[in-house]
């Protein structure tokens, strides 16, 4: 029998069995607040996209194996990664920011944008001694530096709120990790500024009157 282990914004996560294997059932449940057409369109689209991208991303990083997909029921069954989330560890060890940088760097080298790089989505499997990346529901393929830089901007935003005490250290490690993957990545990091300047009230203009 499946057991509810987490309720995210997007989906309910159950732990159950798939044959002899322990498996995660990710079920995109209806959002009561959205009208039906929009809700179904988004759930279908994201289920399909996540299944596709979980597979595609394996070329760059470790992701759970996809075992089963149902677009009509909005379910993905995937391999269970038995590990600990970075969310619960990084405040003790901010150098883990490097792992985020390296993993995003490798994804970006293959033109894969994660779209939701928060620390709950990085899981360390002690048995296999490997980092896994999960939750590809907002992920997509793009070779544009702009899209890659938005991914980095999201990291910054999330760290600032989730881990304010170690923000600086985490980000330094993150940039180092990201730069270590490709020489071109320096350019993408510079683009973060450009995106942030486009944000509301980003250019501070102040005067005495």
């Amino acid at each position: 029998m499946e057991r509810l282990v987490a309720r995210g914004a997007e989906a309910d996560i159950y732990l159950g069995k798939w044959g002899p294997l322990e498996a995660i059932y990710k079920v995109r449940t209806p959002k009561q607040y959205m009208i039906d057409e929009l809700d179904k369109r988004l759930r279908r689209h994201r289920t399909a996209r996540e299944a596709k991208m979980l597979r595609a991303a394996r070329i760059a990083v470790n992701t759970p194996h996809v075992l089963y997909v149902s677009l009509s029921r909005y379910i993905i069954v995937m391999e269970y990664i038995n590990g600990k989330r970075m969310l619960d560890m990084i405040d003790e060890d901010p150098t883990m920011g490097r792992v985020i940088g390296e993993m995003l760097g490798r994804l970006h080298a293959h033109d894969i944008i994660h779209g939701d790089p928060n620390t709950a989505n990085f899981i360390f499997d002690y048995r296999r001694n490997k980092w896994y990346l999960v939750d590809f529901g907002l992920s997509f393929i793009s070779s544009r530096n702009e899209d890659k830089a938005v991914d980095l901007h999201l990291v910054k935003e999330v760290m600032y709120v989730q881990h304010p005490a170690r923000f600086g250290e985490i980000m330094n490690a993150f940039y180092e990790g990201y730069k270590s993957i490709s020489e071109k990545n320096e350019e993408i990091i510079k683009k973060i500024d450009e995106i942030e300047r486009r944000g509301r009230y980003a250019r501070s203009r102040s005067f005495l009157f």
Binding site: Q32, Y33, L38, D116, D151, E157, V158, Y160, P164, S204
Partner: protein, 328 residues
């Protein structure tokens, strides 16, 4: 008992309010500049309106509160972000009162004003704040003395989206209530761009597409679909933040917070995550003097104020650059 005067003049509203330290709003008077139908706010025209209205608005606020200038402990003003000419009207008057009566002057960030007034009126303690107005579309959480932005629009705000759509229909800004009314007559959903990037959102593609649709669909259905799409995006990023940050309260503030459909959606989000829904009372949702007066009170109580000669305005000013010592 400490009492203070707050003056708001960032955009179309000139407002003045007297408040005491218990949070009792003794008066909240405003006068709103209304641009001609089909056009947006003109900064110069709005500032003229403010300059004309300012003396009577301020005097009514004092009269209603039964106080005189001499009774005030401080003068707070909206120092930004906003339209330069409008900001200067409020700031100039505040500086004058401050200098003439020798009262401390407190510059206040307008967006922070929305959040802190909403927080006080709904007795929120440590909420996830959703700031929705013409100038802001942000999801925020207070951490260590700052309101930190968890997610925000990457281009235009929800208020601008609705106002610019309204303008295309020939409505005057702010067009929110009129668009809401038109949308309530629509029921056919038209597919539109839905752009959520992680915790951030983008509305500019949505605006372009609805403008194009005006030629081929009934405006009721477009307005309906626009609200459904844009509000669903807002609800989704809010839900993401609630799921991740596990806040016990959601506080919704800003002019757009008055929309009933949005209300309904966010309430449903809260139910799903076992979170308390706190919405600023509608009469205080839009720009008003009370938001500045109350936030000024918080600063004044924490010893933050300036000399009149160092008063400033900032047309562009990010909320996450502002110190909020009471949220340390």
């Amino acid at each position: 008992m400490t009492i203070g005067l707050g003056i708001e003049s960032t955009a179309h509203t000139f407002g003045a309010s007297v408040i005491d330290e218990s949070g009792k709003i003794l008066s909240n008077v405003k006068s709103v500049y209304v641009p001609p139908s089909g056009s947006g706010i003109h900064p110069r025209e709005a500032s003229r309106h403010h300059a004309d209205e300012a003396p009577s608005v301020v005097q009514s606020a004092l009269k209603e509160a039964r106080v005189s200038f001499k009774d005030l402990d401080f003068i707070a003003y909206s120092a930004g972000p906003g339209l330069g000419p409008c900001l200067r009207v409020g700031a100039t008057i505040s500086r004058f009162i401050s200098a003439y009566y020798n009262k401390p002057l407190v510059p206040v960030h307008h967006g922070l004003g929305h959040i802190e007034l909403g927080s006080m009126l709904t007795s929120a303690r440590d909420p996830l704040a959703l700031l929705l107005s013409g100038g802001h579309t942000m999801v925020l959480s207070a951490v260590r003395g700052r309101w930190r932005v968890f997610g925000e629009t990457l281009d235009m705000t929800i208020g601008q989206l609705i106002d610019q759509f309204g303008r295309a229909l020939g409505l005057a800004s702010p067009a929110g209530p009129a668009v809401e009314k038109i949308a309530s007559k629509g029921n056919k959903y038209i597919e539109m761009p839905y752009v959520v990037k992680g915790n951030d959102l983008s509305f500019s593609g949505l605006l372009t597409s609805v403008k194009k649709m005006l030629a081929s669909y009934p405006q009721e259905d477009i307005a309906f679909s626009l609200q459904e799409t844009a509000f669903s995006m807002l609800a989704e990023v809010t839900e993401r933040a609630l799921a991740l940050l596990r806040k016990a309260e959601l506080l919704v503030v800003g002019g757009v917070a008055a929309n009933r459909r949005l209300h309904e959606m966010l309430e449903a989000v809260c139910r799903r995550h076992g979170c308390e829904f706190k919405m600023v009372p509608v009469e205080y949702a839009g720009d008003c003097g009370a938001q500045i007066a109350w936030t000024g009170m918080l600063y004044f109580k924490n010893g933050f104020f300036v000399r009149p000669e160092s008063a400033f305005v900032k047309q562009s000013w990010r909320i996450d650059e502002v110190d909020v010592p009471w949220r340390g």
